[in-house]
Amino acid sequence: MLLAALAVYPAFGTGYGVRAMLQIFMWIALAGSWNIISGLTGYVSFGHVAFFGAGAYAGAILIANAGWPWVPAAAAGGVAACVLALVIGYPCLRLKGPYFAIAMLGLNEVLRALVSYFEALTGGGSGLSLPTLHATVPIYYAMAGTAAAVTLLTFLIITSRFGLRLMTIREDELAAEAMGIDTARHKLYAFLLSAAGPGIAGALAARDQGYIEPISVFPLATTITMIVMALFGGKGTVWGPVLGAVVLFVAQELVWARFPYVHQLLFGAIIVAVVLLMPRGVLGILQLKYRLPRTI
C-alpha cells in the first residue's frame, strides 16, 4: 500500500515534495550502500562519497560531451564507480581495518584534486553543465528504483552464506581466515557491491541538478550524512539505513529551516551519541531486545 502511494506520489505532490522524496531515495541508496561494506564487514569507509562523485562525473561527461541519454548514462555511472572501487579496493582492502579507514580518509581530497587537474574533460573547478532537461519525475522513479535495489541487495546478501562470511570479517577476521575464508576477496566483492548504488545515484543526481562541480559531488558532508544515517538506523541491518535516511533527512530539513548549518553539528553529535549509547542503531537495539530476525 505504501508502495502504491509512493508510486503515484508525483502526480499529487508539489515540486518541492517530489524533490524531497527523490532526495530521500538517494540517501536510502547511499546509506544502504555504505551499510553493505561498513555495516557488514566492519571496514569503515570514510571516502564513500568518492563513488557518488565518480558516478556523477561519468554520467555527466557522457551526457554533456557524448550526448548519451540519461538512463544508460546512469548505468555507466554505476559501472564507473565499480571500476573505481576495484582500483582502490584491490590494494586498500588488503590492509587491516584501521589502515583501510585511513586510506579512505584521504580519498576524497585526492579525487577532488584529480578532477580539478583533468580540467579539459571535467570542466575543472568551474564545473560541467548538462543540457537542460526537465525530467524530475522519471528521475524520481529511477532513484526510487535504485533505493529499492540497494535494499533488496542488502537483504539478499544478509540472508546468504556470502553475507555470513562478511559478518565473520567484522566479528573476528583472524578466525575467519583460519576457517578458510578468503577475506580479501570477500571484502572486495562487498566493496564493489557497495559502490554501484552511489555511482548510479550520483549520475542521476547530476542529471537532475543539471550542473556539477567538484565541490558539489565530493563533499565530506555527503559521507558524513550517509554514515550517520546508517549508524542511526542500524548498521548491519536491512532496513536500518532506510529508517535512518527518512528520519534524519526529515530532521535535517526541519533543522535547516530554523538553524542553517547546525545540522552538520547535530550529525556529529548523533554519531558520537550512537557510538557511545546505541552502537547497533535503532533497529539493532530492537533486534536485540525483541529477538527479531536478522533480516529486519
Binding site: R161, T168, L174, A175, A176, E177, A178, M179, G180, I181
Partner: protein
C-alpha cells in the same frame, strides 16, 4: 613408514630479539595423536601460528602432505586441510551456532546445513543451533569451535588447549571424539597444559622450551626425561 602428514624443518620465528621458535624440526605421521607441551612462553602457540600461516616464519619450512605451505595465507592453508582451534575461544558471537559452522563449508546449501547439524549433534549441541554463539556458555562455545574445525573435514587438526576451562564430563566426551577422529585416519596435534590429558591421549609428545624442541617420545619417556623436568621446574 607412511609419508608424514606434516613436517617442520628447522622452523624459526623471531620477535624482535627473541626467538619464539628456534629451529624446530618434527614430523607427524597420519592417524596419530601428538601432544605439544612446554612451560609458558616456550613458543607453542607461535608454532601453531607459523603452521597455519597466521605468523610469517623467519626461517625453515613447513611441509604439509608433501607440499610446502609456508608463505601461504591462512585461508589457503585452511582450505588445504589444516584446521585449528584457539587458546582463547574465537567463535563468531553474533552468528548462531549453526551459522558459525555454515560459514566454513564450500558445498551446496542443503548439504552444508545437513553436515553442520550432524556435527552439532556429534558434540551434543543439537537444539542450540539457533542460539547466538555469544550467548552460549564457555564449554558450549568450545564445542562450537571444535565442531567448526571439523566442518571442512581436515586432515590435520591443531587443538590449542582444548581442555582449558572445561569440566570433566565434557572433557571426556571431547577426548573420546578426538580419539574417534584418530581412528578415522586424521592426525591431531594438541597443545595442552593438563598432563593427564596429554599422557592419557597422546601417542607421542614433543616438548618445547624457549622455542627449542628439547624432547620427543612416548608420554612415559617424556615424564622421566631430565631435561623436561628441568624445563618445567627450573634450573
Amino acid at each position: 613408514m607412511p609419508a608424514p602428514v606434516l613436517e617442520l624443518r628447522r622452523l624459526s620465528k623471531r620477535f624482535g630479539g627473541v626467538a619464539a621458535v628456534d629451529g624446530v624440526s618434527l614430523a607427524l605421521e597420519p592417524g596419530r595423536i601428538y601432544g605439544l607441551i612446554g612451560p609458558n612462553g616456550s613458543g607453542k602457540t607461535t608454532l601453531f601460528n607459523c603452521i597455519t600461516g597466521v605468523e610469517r616464519r623467519d626461517g625453515g619450512e613447513v611441509v604439509f602432505g608433501g607440499e610446502r605451505i609456508d608463505g601461504l595465507k591462512p585461508w589457503q592453508i585452511a582450505q588445504r586441510g589444516i584446521g585449528r582451534t584457539f587458546q582463547i575461544i574465537r567463535v563468531f558471537p553474533e552468528l548462531t551456532a549453526l551459522e558459525n559452522l555454515l560459514v566454513v563449508t564450500r558445498g551446496g546449501a542443503e548439504e552444508a546445513r545437513a553436515h553442520a547439524l550432524e556435527l552439532l549433534r556429534l558434540v551434543t549441541l543439537e537444539g542450540l543451533q539457533d542460539e547466538y554463539a555469544g550467548n552460549l556458555s564457555y564449554g558450549q562455545q568450545k564445542l562450537v569451535e571444535f565442531a567448526r574445525v571439523l566442518m571442512r573435514d581436515p586432515t590435520l587438526i591443531l587443538l590449542d588447549e582444548p581442555a582449558a576451562g572445561v569440566n570433566r564430563t565434557l572433557l571426556n566426551d571431547l577426548l573420546a571424539t578426538v580419539a574417534g577422529l584418530r581412528d578415522a585416519g586424521k592426525t591431531v596435534l594438541l597443545v595442552e597444559h593438563d598432563m593427564k590429558v596429554v599422557m592419557g591421549l597422546c601417542e607421542t609428545v614433543f616438548v618445547l622450551d624457549h622455542g627449542e624442541k628439547i624432547a620427543e617420545g612416548p608420554p612415559g619417556a617424556i615424564q622421566a626425561d631430565e631435561r623436561v623436568i628441568e624445563a618445567y621446574f627450573g634450573r
